[in-house]
């Protein structure tokens, strides 16, 4: 069982917590009604019974087949609660039977109602509510010490108890339509299914063995799965594009024979890899060093919630395999660097630039030019997208267009500028189209053309670009760049768009979040100036803060001088990560303020060090 996909089955969620003496629970689900013997000397019947509504809603669903399973659990647990005919007793054979002290609560329970376990009720409830991620359960039950409790179970018994619980949970979760009352039936059916599957696996394994033998003899006689022909599965899968004269059998064979390296499994890489796999590109390499984060999912649609925390290349590779088993996938969990660039590029026919930073874009361009591979490139930010093809059919390369990199401070990335998820989706799809056309050798490529997409207007503009520049440093007639260089220093930026913290201030002008909190308690008057853009301030802010963005402050210093007339007043500047606030302190110093401090690390540090409930975006 792969626990990763069933996070609720974390055993910690169900075992007794030896440290607190209570039952451990995890964040996904509160510990269901397993109960812990406490030190109470008498049974507190008031807190013992689950809410009446719970009992009443569960009762009609009980069937005679359930008690068997439940009894089995009861034997293991030795402390399961049984309610029968207004009586509450322990199911472990203990003779202690107490009358329910509030009989009115149970008056409407039919006299002939079968034994009922609180746990099963809760499971029932959970099964009903499994669409919601959190289940609210009744309060823990207090038991007398006289009854042997879970604490007395041996480790083996506890394991067994947990395993049984897992089985029960799986039954409830596996299929919401399973009525708890039909457990027995479900178990029988699942056993049958399991046997059938085992049989099928055995058959397939036998086939695989045959195929292996076949493969070894195939060196002489090529069969239908050769790269030069299409087999029946491929013909029916790609039929709709095969019948297009623009693709046809010859085009599809070329697509099958081609290999594509997608650099970046993010907002662009997601649609590109899916559509290339869909079209039947024979071999797809997907490269990314990064892991999936929740903030990626709005645009990086190839990854799922369950992929958060795992490498993007692995997650994307898995998605591609699930989507089309006929294509070969190669995952590269690595950064694209000067060390591996040429080796990687040489193994593929077409390269896709789906990265997010300037340094990697120059590196990819140079590697493609040096290896003579076409480069299909796209970029997206906010509502804008751009797509083009470099170093193909006499067209320019990236350096022909942009001989020198932009100053680092003019580059905005998705993490700072934002991006609407569908925008990289749109340009990524166009990118995939360009790759397919180059692979199939059909249509007119976007070489020497640049598509500008403006999602706000909305407008698609195709512009004509210059041809290859004969003076170009890398693809020109006498290039000065004949091998890969140090692109980080060339661009003054790193190979990723990860947030970085700059330090432009003297250390004495910065305080930590803790220092700020201490100051807050000190009672001295001050101004807390949040210098983020208003759109970000709207998301979350600290109490008492005033919002003047760095941008506005620089544009119109009067906003600040009007707001804080006393130049010696104590001012703390705050922003998202502690970069803009440093610039703000510097700027205010220039305006003559003497008592201005930067809060280091900004709100992300605030969330990390002071208030974990403060949102991070």
């Amino acid at each position: 069982m792969d626990r990763r996909f069933i996070p609720d089955l974390n055993p910690r969620a169900f075992g007794p917590d030896t440290q607190t003496g209570g039952w451990a629970s995890n964040s996904a689900i509160e510990a269901p009604g397993l109960y812990e013997p406490r030190k109470a000397r008498r049974i507190d019947m008031g807190g013992l019974f689950p809410p009446r509504d719970t009992v009443m809603s569960a009762l009609p669903r009980l069937s005679p087949c359930r008690p068997a399973l439940v009894e089995r659990m009861a034997r293991m647990e030795s402390c399961i609660l049984v309610v029968k005919d207004r009586e509450v007793r322990l199911s472990n054979g203990c003779n202690k039977i107490s009358r329910f002290e509030r009989p009115s609560d149970c008056q409407s329970i039919p006299e002939n109602s079968p034994p009922l376990l609180q746990k099963t009720i809760l499971l029932r409830q959970e099964a009903q509510q499994r669409t919601t991620s959190r289940v609210t359960l009744c309060e823990p039950i207090e038991m007398s010490n006289e009854a042997p409790g879970a604490r007395d179970l041996t480790a083996k018994q506890r394991r067994k108890q947990r395993d049984l619980y897992f089985q029960l949970q799986l039954l409830c979760r596996g299929n919401s339509k399973i009525d708890m009352a039909d457990h027995q039936e479900a178990i029988t059916r699942l056993t049958e299914e399991n046997n059938a599957l085992k049989k099928r696996v055995a058959e397939l394994e036998a086939l695989l063995d045959l195929k292996k033998e076949d493969d070894s003899s195939r060196a002489i006689v090529p069969d239908s799965s050769s790269v030069d022909t299409l087999n029946n599965a491929e013909i029916s899968r790609y039929g709709r594009q095969l019948i297009m004269p623009e693709i046809g059998m010859q085009g599809q064979k070329k697509i099958k024979k081609s290999s594509v390296l997608i650099i970046g499994a993010g907002g662009l890489g997601s649609p590109v890899s899916l559509y290339l796999a869909g079209a039947g590109i024979g071999r797809i390499g997907i490269l990314d060093f990064d892991t999936v984060e929740a903030s990626n999912l709005h645009r990086q649609v190839i990854h799922k919630e369950s992929s958060v925390g795992i490498p993007k290349a692995i997650s994307a590779g898995r998605a591609i395999r699930e989507f089309n088993s006929l294509v070969k996938v190669e995952e590269h969990v690595t950064a694209f660097t000067t060390d591996n660039a040429l080796g990687l590029v040489s193994r593929y026919d077409i390269i896709v630039d789906a990265t997010d930073n300037v340094a990697t874009r120059y590196l990819i361009n140079d590697a493609c030019v040096l290896s003579n591979k076409p480069l299909v490139s796209a970029a997206a930010l906010r509502m804008d997208g751009q797509v083009t093809v470099y170093h193909h059919n006499g067209g320019p390369c990236y350096r022909c267009l942009y001989p020198s990199p932009p100053p680092a401070e003019t580059v905005t990335d998705c993490s700072n500028g934002g991006v609407l998820g569908v925008v990289p989706g749109i340009v990524g799809c166009i990118q995939a189209l360009e790759v397919i056309k180059i692979a199939a050798g059909t249509g007119e490529s976007m070489s020497q053309k640049l598509l500008l997409f403006d999602g706000m207007s909305p407008r698609y503009t195709m512009v004509k670009l210059r041809p290859r520049n004969k003076e170009c440093a890398v693809c020109g007639d006498s290039p000065s760049v004949t091998g890969l260089i140090d692109y980080k220093s060339f661009c003054g930026s790193s190979y990723d768009d990860k947030p970085c913290t700059r330090s432009i201030l003297d250390a004495s002008l910065s305080v930590s979040c803790e220092d700020y909190v201490a100051h807050l308690k000190g009672g001295e008057e001050f101004v807390l100036l949040d210098v983020r853009e208003p759109v970000q301030y709207d998301i979350c802010s600290l109490p008492q803060s005033k919002n003047v963005s760095l941008h506005d402050m620089k544009r119109d210093p009067a906003i600040i001088t009007d707001m804080i007339s006393d130049k010696d007043k104590k001012v703390f500047c705050l922003c998202r990560r502690g970069n803009d606030s440093q610039s703000a302190v510097k700027f205010m110093k220039e305006l003559g303020y003497t008592n201005v401090f930067n809060i280091s690390g900004g709100l992300s540090s605030w969330s990390k060090d002071i208030d974990p409930n403060f949102p991070v975006y």
Binding site: A380, Q386, L401, P406, T410, C414, L450, V463, N469
Partner: protein, 95 residues
């Protein structure tokens, strides 16, 4: 002469967040090099260093004249004509 000037890819932030500008340039003839200065004096609202550097546009800005790369039109020496459409676009890097 009447010109349509557009800034995009984030450059519009330097021009009062306005992308499209329809302007009347009070000159009979002007080359692009001089028009850049005219734009700096008349349209640019802030941080000129993010638009111009060394008498031309800063690296990373592509200039389009009537949907054509300005390199194809003569670059800085292009003689701007009435009703020309000029686009200044900052290259994007996100993905």
């Amino acid at each position: 002469m009447r010109l349509s000037i557009e800034f995009s890819g984030g450059l519009e932030l330097l021009f009062g967040k306005k992308k499209q500008h329809s302007v009347e340039v009070d000159k009979k003839e002007i080359v692009l090099r001089d028009l850049l200065q005219w734009i700096k004096e008349n349209l640019l609202k802030e941080r000129p260093e993010l638009f111009l550097s060394q008498q031309t546009v800063r690296p990373g800005i592509l200039v389009l004249i009537n949907d054509c790369d300005w390199e194809l039109m003569g670059g800085l020496d292009y003689k701007v004509e009435d009703k020309d459409e000029l686009v200044f676009i900052s290259t994007l890097h996100g993905g």
